[in-house]
Symmetry: D2
């Protein structure tokens, strides 16, 4: 199973006037986490795009458990949990590094598309990596 953890440090720009990280920024962190998970599996997403394959986002789910705060080091764990020829599902756990506190859990669902954003089958060389990496593939 492709599972990889990436660390980010909370930027001031990511906080809001509640004194915590603004909730939409976790969606950005999930993107950072999945791109680094792909890189760890040998897939460079920037190159995939240059070859004409995009991994569009079909859906996002997020449950917030505790607040991340400014300057926290945050560990984003991304796992490819399902891959099909046209779709992929990735799950995420986000923890504060200092104390291991779970901050959020989430998932994203993706569609493979071409540069015109039309759905396509994932090319074999990418599929093999994702499918080999995923828990479930059909």
């Amino acid at each position: 199973m492709l599972q990889h953890t990436t660390q980010v440090r909370v930027r001031y720009a990511e906080t809001d006037q509640m004194g915590v990280v603004y909730h939409a920024n976790y969606v950005v962190w999930m993107e950072v986490g999945r791109v680094e998970a792909m890189r760890a599996a040998g897939l460079n997403y920037a190159e995939m795009e240059r070859e004409g394959i995009r991994v569009a986002v079909l859906g996002v789910e997020l449950q917030y458990k505790a607040a991340a705060r400014y300057d926290d080091l945050v560990d984003i764990t991304a796992r490819v949990v399902e891959v099909q020829s046209r779709m992929m599902r990735i799950e995420y756990d986000i923890h504060r590094a200092a104390d291991g506190q779970l901050l959020a859990q989430g998932a994203t669902k993706h569609l493979f598309v071409n540069l015109d954003l039309k759905p396509i089958r994932c090319p074999e060389k990418y599929y093999a990596v994702f499918a080999g990496a995923a828990c479930t593939n059909t």
Copy 2:
């Protein structure tokens, strides 16, 4: 039922190199939509916060249906669908104004908290508005 539609115009800052709106920005738009829905029901969220009540985000769900693009006018419809003494659920439909195309559907779940982010019961004067406005309340 409290349901209100707010319009935003897509900013260049909100696009990404796919040539469409970056997906996390819909989460920001949902925030804009619910604040304007509250305002339409007579609740000023900025004042609520000054009185010590915050509406924290517990969860977010989003399904993307079509891509919003730069300069599109986008209609964000927010509906309070459930209110409890400590929680609230709001649903959203996001359409392109020009052609009515559904762009995304989503929901957010909220917890009423104090300035220290501790859960509290929603004060009656706010509850009455949300509950009167919601489809379901318990």
Copy 3:
């Protein structure tokens, strides 16, 4: 002189833990202000880009005078102050609508480029609008 004022409402996403608008967001507001100033002069920036002309940003200057806060209505005034065949300078005043308080002043310098981001002469039909609109043009 092309001068136009656009209003935005401060989003929660735009605040930071200082309890005010995060300073980089004024750069986004300047973009909103200049695009609306172009629209007011009959130029649709989205169409310009579809025709292959981009207005790239060469430089930004900003002086902050007072803090914008969540839910403030903010007036962004953009003025084209200089247009040349390859460049353009725009100045901005940003005020709080409620009390007229000056929040920030700034300027952006722009280069006309093609889709490959190579510098080009501004096509006559756009130049005429900018130059007719600007205080100074050479």
Copy 4:
């Protein structure tokens, strides 16, 4: 002279439909760069804020030289160039790590303020670090 270089990787969220990094994001990177420069000098900005001292932004200047692109590793060099009892000026060079290409140069001017955002003299223990670190101090 306090000078420190921090590296960030360009996030997809930071790109725009020109296919390059949206210009306002360099302002966020400058913030990341100066916070890490402070940390390198033994100052933790999060702790400064907890002690009631904030480093507000009075002004920003930025000149863009070349475009940063998705997935680029970017080196942000921040230098404290002037410190006074109430103000500080920091300069920045931003390069692409892969080829050393200069992407942008800029500066920020800062005011020391308390939690109510009122100007204050920088406490001695912080001043000593900044002033010892700066090229010029008065």
